[in-house]
Symmetry: C2
Subunit: 268 residues, 2 copies
C-alpha cells in the first residue's frame, strides 16, 4: 500500500488533508479515487491507515480507518557519516541506507575528499538528498524519515563522538582481525542487559543504542586522521579482507549492524 509522510498539522482529528507533492503523486501518478486506501505518517507519533473521501484538482482528503503502531524502526540507531564521495554516490548511500534502517546521515569533508564543496550548490543537493531519504523511507515502509545533516568538517564530526555509545571508523589499514564484530556483539550484550533492567513501559528511543559508522572518501583516511579519530575514542575497524568501495562500505557496515541486533529477519 502507498505510504506518505506528511506534516503533523495535516492530521485534524480523524481527517487528513493532503496537498502539494503528496496530492500530486496520489492524483496524477497513482490516479487514486475516493474509497482507495493509503497509509499516512507524520514520521513521529501519528500513523494511520486512511481512506480517501474527496479528491480535488490538487488536494485530497482522507479519513482515518485505523491508527497504526509505529513498530517498523530498528532497535538500534545507526548514523552513517560519509566523506563526500564523487558523483551521485551519496544518493545511493542515502537511498539504500534508508531502506536498511539508518536514522541519520552526516556528509563530511576530510583530507582526501575530492569533490569541491560549494555551499550554494550544497543547499540544492541537501534538498535532493532529503527528498531521496523521504521517498526511500516511504517505499521501505519505515515509520521515520532519516535526518540528513548539512555537511560537517572533520573537526565537527570528531566533536560529535560523545553523542554515540559506539563510534566506528572503517580503516583499510586495519587487518582483517580487527574488532568490528566483537565491538558490535559487546554493545548488543550490554544493551540487552540494560533493557532487562529497565522497568516495563519506561522504554523510550533515548535508551536505544546509538552507533556512529564513519566511512572515508575514495582515497581513504590519512594516517593523521586515523590517529585523531582513535584519540577521540573512535574505534578503527576493518570490514574484512576484500576492499570495498566507499559507497559500498557504509551499506555493508549498516547491514551487519542490523544483523547483529536481530533486525534482518529471525531472532536467535
Amino acid at each position: 500500500m502507498q505510504r506518505y509522510f506528511i506534516q503533523s498539522e495535516q492530521f485534524r482529528d480523524q481527517t487528513i488533508l493532503l496537498d502539494g507533492e503528496e496530492a500530486h503523486h496520489l492524483i496524477r501518478v497513482m490516479r487514486a479515487r475516493p474509497g482507495d486506501r493509503i497509509i499516512v505518517s507524520d514520521g513521529d507519533r501519528l500513523e494511520a491507515l486512511a481512506e480517501l473521501t474527496r479528491i480535488d484538482k490538487d488536494a485530497a482528503e482522507a479519513r482515518v480507518v485505523e491508527w497504526l503502531a509505529m513498530d517498523r524502526e530498528p532497535a538500534v540507531q545507526v548514523t552513517v557519516a560519509q566523506s563526500l564521495p564523487k558523483g551521485d554516490k551519496l544518493e545511493l548511500v542515502i537511498q539504500k541506507g534508508t531502506e536498511l534502517g539508518a536514522c541519520r546521515f552526516i556528509p563530511f569533508i576530510s583530507e582526501r575528499t575530492v569533490v569541491q564543496y560549494d555551499e550554494r550548490k550544497e543547499a540544492k543537493r541537501l534538498e535532493r538528498w532529503r527528498k531521496i531519504a523521504k521517498e526511500a523511507a516511504e517505499q521501505a515502509h519505515r515509520n521515520r524519515v532519516p535526518q540528513i545533516e548539512t555537511p560537517a568538517s572533520w573537526k565537527q564530526l570528531l566533536q560529535m563522538r560523545e553523542q554515540f555509545d559506539l563510534a566506528l571508523l572503517c580503516y583499510e589499514q586495519v587487518g582483517g582481525s580487527a574488532g568490528f564484530r566483537p565491538l558490535l556483539q559487546k554493545l548488543r550484550e550490554e544493551w540487552s542487559q540494560r533493557k532487562g533492567a529497565t522497568p516495563e513501559g519506561a522504554e523510550t528511543r533515548d535508551q536505544e543504542p546509538k552507533v556512529l559508522l564513519i566511512i572515508g572518501p575514495e582515497g581513504g583516511f590519512s594516517e593523521r586522521e586515523a590517529e585523531q579519530a582513535a584519540q577521540a575514542g573512535i574505534h578503527l575497524v576493518g570490514l574484512g579482507k576484500r576492499i570495498l568501495r566507499t559507497e559500498t562500505a557504509g551499506l555493508v557496515g549498516l547491514a551487519c549492524i542490523m544483523y547483529e541486533f536481530n533486525e534482518m529477519g529471525g531472532t536467535l
Copy 2:
C-alpha cells in the same frame, strides 16, 4: 597496488606476458614504466607480485618478484540468484556483490520478471556483466572472479537446489520472525564441527559451505513460486521489517552471510 586477472598461459615460469585489455590499461591508463610493480592472478592457482621489465606499444612483460598466497576468498561460497531486474540494476548487484565476496551469480526469469528476455542482446549483456565482475574483483583485491551464469528459467533454478548446503529465498510475505539468522547460524556451527573433524591439510574448497540466496524481481515472487521453492527444499526467509528493493536485498543478504561467517572484520 593495481591487480590484473590474466590467463594461466600468460604465466611462463617467472615471466608474465601482458597484452590486450590489461596491457592497454597498464600502458595507457596507468602510464606504467619498467620497474613499476603490479599483482597478477590467474584467478585459480597462481598469483604473484611482479615487476614490469619491458613495455611495448600494446604489450608488456613482467617478472615474478614473489608468489602470493591466495587467501582473500571467503570461507563460505555464496551464489546470488537474482530474477532479472529492470534497467542496469543487475550491474550494481554484480559489482557490489563481487566486492562482498559472492562466488557466482545466476540471473533467472520468474513469473513477475518485467524485462523482456532477448537471447541475442543477452549475449552482449552477459559479456558486460562478466567484465564488471572482473573489474570489481580486481578492485576488491579478490583472488577469484565470480562466475556469471547465462540466465536460467525458474525450473532450472529449482533443479540447482542440490548443489547447495543451504538455499534461501527472500520472500516479503514471511514475517520478521522467520529464520534467516538462525538458519545461517546453524550452518556455521555444523560447518565448524565438520571442519574440526577434517584432517589437517585435507581441506579443499569443496568442503566449504555453499549457500544459495534467491532474490525475486521488483514485483516479488508469486504464491505458487514460493510453494514450489519450499517443496524443492528452499527456505523462505524475510530480511526484517523494512522492505528492501530487489537490487538491495541480495547485497544485504550477502553482507549478513559474510558477517555470520566472520568474514566482515573481527573474529569472535
